[in-house]
Each structure stands twice: as structure tokens, then as C-alpha cells.
Symmetry: C2
Subunit: 150 residues, 2 copies
């Protein structure tokens, strides 16, 4: 199934991020025709940029390529529940559908905490589908943090 395939690609971006010493989160942006237009893992350490989350990187890349602030009709796949920064960026970019893997009770901003899409100050909310390949995403994160503690 297509959405599982895209999440599998996002998981491979997350794995590549882990191998670079970055928190393993991966994202894939899919255009209106169903093809992947950008893919990335976190690069906050490499770029010394606290905003370089996987979601922000794919949104910035696709917007630059299209010459537009908006990605109407685009869908985003991300392995972890977005933080409030990424959720708001998703809203500004007018992403159509957000598919995510693991929930993030500690730092998430979609189903937890700030719940960015749930306020009248949010002027566009994507359709949200959660729990896709969540166990794989959770296993990646657990392996990463237990190795760093070890």
C-alpha cells in the first residue's frame, strides 16, 4: 500500500539520521501526483540549526523548488508526531494530509501539549492520520537513546 511505502521511506531517512548522530526522525513529502518531492532526516546538529527538523527541511526544499510558500495538495509522512514548530510550519505550507508514526507525549504538538491544529489561531489544519508504522519508529528512537546512554 502506498502510504506504508512512503512511511517506510521516512523510516529509512530516520535511520540515516541516527547514523549521523541526529535524533532519528524522518520525513517524506509527496506531491499531488503521488510522487516523492522531498525526503529528509533531522540535521539540527550537522547544520547547527535548531529549526532543521525533518519536516521543516522537506517543506523548505519543496517550497524553494516550486517558488511558493504553499504546498497545496501535498502530503507529509513523518515517523514521529510533529513538535509545535513543525506543526505550525505544516499549517503555513497548507499541507493537505499529515501521516505520522509514533505519538510523542514528551515533546509532541499535534495530539499533545500545544495541540497546534486545535485552536482558532491555526488557519489551516491538515487531515491527520497517526499510528502508521508506529512500532518501527518507536524502536528506532529507543535504540538511539539507549545507545547514547550506554
Amino acid at each position: 500500500m502506498t502510504f506504508k511505502s512512503h512511511m517506510h521511506t521516512a523510516l529509512s531517512e530516520a535511520q540515516a539520521a541516527a547514523e549521523r548522530g541526529e535524533v532519528p526522525v524522518g520525513a517524506v513529502l509527496v506531491g499531488p501526483d503521488g510522487s516523492i518531492v522531498a525526503r529528509a532526516g533531522n540535521r539540527t546538529r550537522e547544520l547547527s540549526d535548531p529549526t532543521a527538523h525533518a519536516e521543516v527541511l522537506v517543506i523548505r526544499e519543496a517550497c524553494a523548488r516550486l517558488g511558493s510558500e504553499r504546498l497545496t495538495g501535498h502530503d507529509l509522512y513523518v515517523t514521529l508526531e510533529p513538535c509545535p514548530m513543525c506543526a505550525a510550519a505544516i499549517s503555513f505550507a497548507r499541507i493537505r494530509r499529515l501521516y505520522y508514526g509514533a505519538g510523542d507525549p514528551k515533546s509532541g504538538g499535534v495530539s499533545h501539549g500545544a495541540r497546534v491544529f486545535a485552536h482558532p489561531q491555526c488557519h489551516h489544519a491538515p487531515e491527520v492520520y497517526d499510528g502508521i508504522a508506529a512500532s518501527e519508529a518507536e524502536a528506532q528512537l529507543k535504540a538511539f537513546f539507549s545507545a547514547r546512554r550506554g
Copy 2:
């Protein structure tokens, strides 16, 4: 007084943004020694980047220069209440104090809506000082939007 001087600089960045056709919001980042380390106005249209808010631009610039994801001891001055994206970026960058001008009931994420700093999912909250030169910031925004409607 220093904080008024920094907000005045932020207001001039907002004015320059308006003259480029961008929503007039300006930001100034001040280092631990009290000197300005970065200043910017919105550039979302120019850069085709929905994340290119003034606050994100100064944080990214200063982090890149320092080679760090964190701006410990730095203070941020911004003419308008930050949105949830910028509030979360401010938190990630460990900004010490946030000074802002006008409140933003329509799109703000600090004192309105998502209230990003008010949840346990937010792991660092700056000290917040609001209402500084608020009437000047409001006047800039009103002039900009009334000219666009005109």
C-alpha cells in the same frame, strides 16, 4: 533605555519588511554582552519559505555563526507576538528572554491559542515581556494591511 532601543531596531526591520511587500514583523537578537548579533524582518515571500519569519531568521543566523543549536544567554526582541512555530524555535534555541510588542489574538502562539510555553512538552521557556512599543507595531501592521486592501 536599552530594551526600547532594541525594539526600535526591530521596528525598523519590520518597516523594511513592509517595503519589500512582506508582513511587517521585525526581530533583533541580542547576545550575552548586550550587542546585537542578528536582525531581520520577514522574508517568506522573497525566499518562498513559509518558515522565514523574522524570529526564525535571526535564530538560524546566530546559531550558524556560533556553530551551536543553542543561544544560551541571548535575548530576542520581536515586534509581534510569536506564532507557535517561532515560539517553539525560541524554546529549542534556549533563548533567555523574549520581548515582544503587539499581542496577536489572530495568530499568536505565546499568549493566545497554542500557548507553546505553557505545556510540559515545552522543555525551556524564556522569560516573556510583552507590550513593548506595542502601539507602533500595531500601527505598522494596520497600515500594511489597509494599503493591501486599498
